[in-house]
Symmetry: C2
Subunit: 412 residues, 2 copies
């Protein structure tokens, strides 16, 4: 590909995380440091992802981020500063007019570089746009920049945003275990953790096992079929050892017949991509334990703070998220296109290298928790799993505080 001179646009898409703005800051830094005044002229931000782009809702990020202070504040601000969307692009061949009008907008703003920060669904957008532009005369660079707390993208060691969610979950579960330990009455506490398909976040609740020996008594991931009778027997065995049993469960655990354990406590609503909207797995198990075992039982859904608790982000994650954004700009400057930036973990001491990979081989696939990371009984993770996850939660990024409260950057 010839060197392309023009402007760039960056968008954020899908569910927010505590680190997606750090990746945005990385793209901004990359443009400023490496290519400013060179290949890339102006860096635009699209409001609310591709949805806002089609409505020409753009902001000149090159002009807005005129200070290091603003960039640092952006890096510690949770959720998507540009706004997000959950738009699914039309299948190729089904609505060419949509893609044509998108290309017209690229031409209008002289955009030759397209960066899209998101998870699995967003990589679908990147893959479709990549495929469409292959057969189109307008030359441009299209890159996916990963983020998802779920850590379920294939082809990469782990995803930006995951480490911060993992750290929040693991630290909060440590505190919950302390809280539950104060009474002598037998009690079961069920902590419901995000993760519809892959159990990475729930696995992270157990990291403490290789740090201080403190972890939930039982851990259930969606990678294993959930059996209620086995669960009761696991809980009974745990209660025999000590009175304060803590259980971590993925929201997405299912019975052998495919039904979600949490099904029925929701109305069966689905999101724009047709995914079932889940909530209530913990509550369902709470009611089951109460009915079957009869002891004191409660459920805790960690909910949104898992993805937005920037006050307890992983310093490692934020740093890697910035690096991922920077790497995307570097790859773009070298002419790499139709790829997602992946992270490869080197052998030995923990260290990542960032490598672009064909996005069509990444989109719409799911990376599950490795078999070797789940114990044979299917009710806990292995030490190998904890050791794999441990480097990702190192360092505390507590964010910026002012007058007792977190200070966030708001892009008005």
């Amino acid at each position: 590909m010839n060197q392309l001179y023009g402007n760039a646009v960056v968008g954020q898409s899908g569910g927010p995380t505590a680190a997606i703005n750090a990746t945005l800051a990385g793209v901004i830094r990359g443009v400023k440091e490496h290519i400013d005044g060179g290949l890339i002229g102006t860096l635009y931000g699209m409001r609310n992802g591709i949805d806002g782009f089609m409505k020409e809702r753009l902001i000149n990020l090159s002009a807005y981020f005129d200070s290091e202070e603003k960039l640092q504040l952006l890096e510690h601000t949770p959720a998507a500063a540009l706004g997000s969307c959950r738009k699914k692009l039309p299948k190729l061949g089904e609505n060419d007019a949509f893609y044509e009008s998108m290309i017209e907008l690229f031409k209008k703003y002289n955009i030759r570089y397209f960066f899209y920060i998101g998870g699995n669904d967003s990589m679908d957008t990147v893959a479709k746009l990549s495929a469409y532009t292959k057969s189109h005369s307008y030359e441009m660079v299209i890159l996916g920049v990963p983020k998802t707390i779920d850590n379920d993208l294939v082809g990469t060691d782990h995803t930006p945003g995951f480490g911060s969610a993992a750290k929040y979950i693991c630290a909060t579960v440590q505190e919950i275990i302390r809280d539950c330990a104060v009474y002598t009455v037998p009690a079961v506490t069920i902590v419901e953790i995000m993760g519809r398909d892959a159990g990475w976040l729930t696995a992270a609740s157990a990291i403490g096992r290789v740090v201080n020996g403190i972890a939930p008594d039982l851990v259930y991931l969606p990678e294993r079929t959930f059996d209620m009778e086995r669960f009761f027997s696991d809980v009974r065995a745990a209660l025999e050892k000590h009175p304060n049993v803590v259980v971590a469960v993925s929201e997405g655990i299912r019975f052998a017949d495919g039904r979600y354990v949490g099904e029925g406590t929701q109305t069966g609503a689905t999101d724009a991509f047709g995914h079932a909207y889940l909530a209530g797995t913990g509550k369902a198990l709470e009611l089951a334990v109460k009915a079957e075992i009869g002891c004191k039982v409660r459920s805790i859904e960690l909910n949104l703070p898992q993805r937005c608790a920037a006050h307890l982000a992983s310093a490692t994650d934020l740093c890697e998220s910035v690096s991922t954004g920077r790497a995307a700009v570097k790859c773009a400057g070298e002419g790499t296109s139709r790829c997602m930036i992946t992270a490869q973990r080197e052998e030995g001491e923990y260290r990542l290298t960032f490598v672009p990979r064909d996005v069509s081989e990444i989109a719409n696939k799911i990376k599950y928790v490795d078999d070797s990371f789940i114990n044979p009984e299917g009710n806990h993770v292995t030490d190998a799993c904890c050791h794999y996850l441990l480097p990702l939660i190192q360092g505390e990024a507590h964010g910026c505080f002012e007058n007792g409260l977190p200070k966030h950057l708001i892009l008005e």
Copy 2:
């Protein structure tokens, strides 16, 4: 009262907080600094409150806490390091044998000083024991040391533990508001906050209003009757202003007929096993908004982390909690008994003084949120409320971390 020479015992009781161990550390520090080698010989800790004391489950705290490092770690450890209980003492005159055996234990361990750290129910224990020992020949000093995230003890400006819970709630709500702002689709997010009788914690969710202008759109406290039709109309009005409406509600809000909103709404939903789904307050309102307004709606129960998130404690609260424990020992040394240590806020710049007050005038009463702190519509707090609360959340105490995880002191 004559000066008493003997040992002391301290206990923790009721629900844990992020600061109750700081108060315990204050008692330990007080004994070490002021009276060690003087009036008080050994400081014992009772395991699981008065319940464990009656079983002689004691730990020698004077011996255990032999380093500043241990005390600092204790101050940043959430929940009750000594364990807790929820035991209600018998009414006076109904079971003298119980009190007699307690006095026998005091004699056995030569205990002349009794410190009990707790909330409303624990002050009932202190008041009963105070009343019983009045008519008993065994001389001793009995003091209540306050803690409760609920901030509902009368006679004191606010309670140790409240500031940390308030800070966690307020900061988390700021992050949730950022998270909710990323989409353009109209949506209502309902945040359920602890507080069965008094709405202090829910009020704290709004502090940001006088700091950065960011607060929930609507705030409902148990001090005001909850009306579903007025709520719908409030939500509709808020949705007309912007698409991402955030509502903070106390778990304890009730309808005019006295029913809790969380127990009064029949959802009809069942879980995977056909059990009726008992909605919480937030969940009940979520289903009501979905049925009536039909927009996207979710509920978030902040749950246990409100009282155990030591990783985001208020530095002011921890400092005051230590001071309260210290003040109790100082008062005891001066012969004050049958009191609870209260905090009085001075006029002008924020500053507290600690004053003992007759515990019988404090126990079994509830301090509600002032009328002047709630707006006339009953759907928000006033600026005066936010200004009153703001000093209590100043400073970030992020706790001790080791290898990426919080480090806690565990009294084996």
